[in-house]
């Protein structure tokens, strides 16, 4: 097991991402943060907290999304959905910041983009990840990255608020 980021590194990376999000969107009005089940949920919550701290005038709605039923490998492997999706209200016209801990093949993000469509038509979707470990199988690119981490396909990357490790 190799530690790549410590808890302090994670906190600093998230703070930087929060500021990048504010800079890119010129504030946080009209934003909503949506974490992917399960790994992205804690991170989305942290980011929403950091964003509200930067601009206390506006609320940042926070949601979570389970993409099990949109995956392209349904039936090929056991799919056990995590917690139930929680998205309040329509996403029409909002800018969605989709949040996941680790970006790998991009298939989860593809499924998430499709799932989001069923909640309305966002004006834009941006992707924030703590770790981009490469090996993309689809044309998907993150907008905000905590750390680019070269890995081999068979390594396991674990990212939590306590740090990022390769196992």
């Amino acid at each position: 097991m190799r530690t790549v980021l410590t808890a302090d590194d994670v906190r600093r990376a998230l703070t930087r991402i929060a500021h990048e999000i504010v800079e890119r969107n010129q504030g946080i009005e009209g934003l909503a943060v949506v974490g992917l089940q399960r790994g992205g949920v804690w991170m989305a919550k942290e980011l929403a907290g950091l964003l509200s701290a930067i601009d206390p005038e506006h609320d940042v709605p926070l949601g979570s999304l389970d993409v099990s039923f949109h995956r392209d490998d349904v039936g090929l492997r056991p799919i056990v959905p995590a917690s139930v999706t929680d998205i309040a209200g329509s996403l029409d016209g909002r800018t969605i910041v989709l949040v996941d801990d680790v970006l790998f093949t991009g298939r989860t993000v593809r499924a998430a983009l499709e799932a989001l469509n069923e909640y309305g038509r966002p004006s834009a979707v941006q992707l924030a990840v703590l770790v981009d470990r490469g090996h993309r199988e689809l044309p998907i690119r993150p907008d905000f990255v905590g750390k680019n981490l070269p890995t081999s396909r068979d390594e396991l990357v674990v990212a939590t608020a306590d740090g990022v490790t390769i196992q």
Binding site: F69, V74, G75, L76, R77, P78, P81, D86, Y119, G120
Partner: protein
Amino acid sequence: MKHLLAIDDLSADDIHRLLELTDHMVEINSRPIPKVPALRGKNVVSLFFEDSTRTRTSFDTAAKRLSADTMNFTVSSSSVSKGESLRDTIETIAAMGVDAFVVRHRSSGAPAMITRWTNASIINAGDGWHQHPTQALLDCYTIRTGLNRRDGFDGLHIAIVGDIRHSRVARSDVQAFAALGARVTLVAPPTLLPPSLQGWPVEVSHDLDSLLPDLDVLYLLRVQRERMDEALLPSLHEYSQLYGLTDARAARLAPHALVMHPGPMNRGVEMVADPGELPGSVILNQVTNGVAVRMAVLFWLLGSGSDLAEAS
């Protein structure tokens, strides 16, 4: 798991997992566009040899919300009326490429028989007096949400009232409620109880009135007039005097108690009060939950890859 034929094929854990999966389906149904691509390309055929409106439409809606293709087989307009055997019917339709058959048949055991003739998954949508497993699952889900009992039914007292003898719903419900830990009391005149209750995890009473204040769930069964060919009841009026839910009886239920009915209701017989006026009535929730539960069953059998997991 390949088929869903009877509740006693499921462990308590299986039931819990199906109910958790149902939570996801309820969320899908609440979306502006309640449809996911999970079962794209799967073919689900409903094969109803007995009348049904709600179960059939419920399965149909469930399959469509998961993007499966659906085909309805109506017995009256099929070759069955020309004398085709059940086996030939199944093999013919299966040859078109079918992933699941949803079967309702007047003979107990017909769905189990069909599993021998095809590789498709078989879902029992009611066979004779035997089983109606998806009804029991949706009833469990309705109680689980209505009384907020996610972890099981320990300590709940459920009375099932009415024609237990002819009821596949009662047989499935008793097994499911007991598996989740509830105490189940059957309430019926002796002629409407099964000839033997050996092995049933239940108590029996003939006196509804004394039970009412103690109940968490009052489950009314339909008096099946079409099966009443043996003069089991002196009159429907007497039945409703003794076992029907009147306003006076409803007032004696605990404030939190749920009133359930699998439909279709005989108003004025088992349901004398207006169900729309009963605070505890969750009869329409049962119908709504039916779609979600059937989505969970279809996804579990066709989409979760659980067979592959067992094989590997």
